[in-house]
Amino acid sequence: MILENIFDNIVLLEAMQAVLFVTILMVSSSYLIPKGIVLFLEWKEKKTFRILSTSVTYCCLGVFLLLYLLLKSVIK
């Protein structure tokens, strides 16, 4: 891919944006947030701070990415 032409290739840019949108949506909704919830359930049994902090990190980042996508799609 010639990097110099990337600014003029609107089809490629829009395709990249669509792929990124879907990837971010999938990663946050089917990996980050569920993993955060699983870790939270694990913390309920083991009561370890390390597991709780990891769970909070996963959930927060998942929600952050979803909110970011939402705001980016709404505010243009």
């Binding site: 990097l3 110099e4 990337i6 600014f7 003029d8 609107i10 840019l13 829009e14 990249m16 944006q17 990124l20 949108f21 990837t23 971010i24 990663v27 980050l32 390390r50 902090s53 990891t54 990190t57 996963y58 980042l61 952050f64 990415l65 970011y68 996508l69 980016k72």
Partner: protein, 189 residues
Amino acid sequence: MRKILTFLILIVPFLTYANSSEEVRKKYAEQINNAFQLQSLGKTTLAYYAFRDGYQLALKNGESVTKLATLEKLFGWYRTYGYSCGLLTKPSGITTEYTNRHLKKTYDFDPHQQKIIRDFLCGVGFLVSGVFCIVINPPLLGRFGITFVASGFKYIYESVDDMIEDYQEKKQRLTELNTIEQKFNATLN
């Protein structure tokens, strides 16, 4: 014979009037042309006064306001985007001048585009390092890794969004120029 003489005497003012009008027209056309030439040499203030004088003279002599408005728009466009499009040798220096593409001759991208590319590459770097962190040591580095991945996604998405915006701006500017050109051609025809 007397009738012919009377007719000639009556027609002389009309003939002289037509000639003087044509001369005035030539004069203000030259002034406006001079304004564009001065602007291309980087003499912004002189160009402005030349255009203003030509415009006012044309207006006084009953030139069409639509034609003049189109010319004025073209002159404004020339001053705003002329340097960034490579039409002028020096920047016009007016307050509304478009300055994003000043370094185009030195670099492949203008500063704004360079920033977008930097953001994009930074995002890719974040993403790759995040994935490495998660793969190498999930319990300890996993948390940082996930943060890196999320930041990477954010940076990449934002830079692609900026690239699309940049393209649309460029397209809009070209459309603007085409519209002015069409109007200009329409007034000439």
